[in-house]
């Protein structure tokens, strides 16, 4: 589905004549839910891959300033790949942002907590305390509550 086919006017946009008859109604807009969720999942995977790369890159950190270190990190294959995946997620995110309020969408990225924390635990053996699990659960509750504010916003 091509993103250019989107006709659904975003929520704050003034009502302007959109030539609806030119677009087939069922193939309209790429669903923003898919774009937002895809962006979140890709961002999480990207972060974990970056971390994996940095874990080995820091072992050979050259002496020098921030810039020298940064270039050293960026050139690590896993870090570069992680950034690429993150970039793909960003492209999807831009689309989602064009369709919904940022005060609604941005907090949804809290879904990253579950994914990245699990990744930190299972891939890198990082410990998760009970208090941290509780905090993650509360954040998840907030994300669920956020869905209620969507109805009030729609059209």
């Amino acid at each position: 589905m091509r993103p250019e086919l989107a006709v659904e006017v975003e929520e704050e946009a003034p009502s302007i004549p959109v030539r609806l008859e030119k677009v087939r109604p069922n193939t309209l807009a790429f669903p923003w839910e898919v774009a937002a969720l895809g962006a979140i999942i890709l961002a999480s995977c990207g972060h974990l891959l970056i971390k994996a790369g940095l874990r080995s890159a820091v072992l050979t950190t050259p002496a020098g300033g921030i810039l020298t270190r940064l270039v050293h990190y960026l050139l690590h294959p896993a870090v570069a790949a992680g950034l690429g995946i993150y970039g793909l997620g960003t492209i999807m995110w831009v689309y989602a942002v064009s369709r919904r309020s940022i005060s609604f969408l941005y907090p949804l990225t809290a879904l990253n907590y579950a994914i990245v924390t699990m990744g930190g635990k299972f891939l890198f053996g990082e410990s998760i305390t009970r208090g941290r699990w509780l905090g993650i659960a509360v954040v998840m509750l907030g994300v669920a509550l956020m869905q209620f504010s969507m109805k009030e916003e729609k059209r």
Binding site: P3, V94, S103, Y106, V116, G120, E126, L134, G135, V139
Partner: protein
């Protein structure tokens, strides 16, 4: 630069970046079909890109020295920051239920922060 100042700069920059992006796609969006090509012409989208690249660089520095499951949750302090900025800079209306959700998320973040 310490890992923690890098982390805080990341938080502030990424909050601003989201508001810039929304501003950028809203200018373009006024009824016309969404197009990635037209994004390149928007100064707001450029502002987003620059903040984003800076934030990412700082994030790399922070993350190389702080546990990922600790550094990552801290980023969400930018949620209330984005909400406030979106009212003043974008004129978004935030219903009570959304403030509630943002408060719960922020409380969750405080719990995560305390537990470390």
């Amino acid at each position: 630069m310490s890992a923690f100042s890098a982390l805080w700069l990341t938080i502030i920059l990424s909050a601003c970046a989201q508001v810039f992006l929304k501003r950028g796609v809203t200018c373009i969006g006024s009824g016309a079909p969404f197009s990635y090509v037209s994004l390149v012409k928007s100064p707001w989208v450029w502002a987003w890109g620059i903040s984003f690249v800076l934030a990412t660089g700082l994030w790399l520095i922070a993350m190389s020295r702080i546990q990922v499951s600790y550094a990552f949750p801290l980023l969400s302090i930018s949620y209330p920051i984005v909400a406030v900025l979106s009212i003043f800079l974008l004129g978004e209306r935030i219903p009570a239920s959304r403030w509630m959700a943002i408060a719960v998320i922020t409380f969750g973040v405080a719990l995560i922060y305390r537990s470390s």
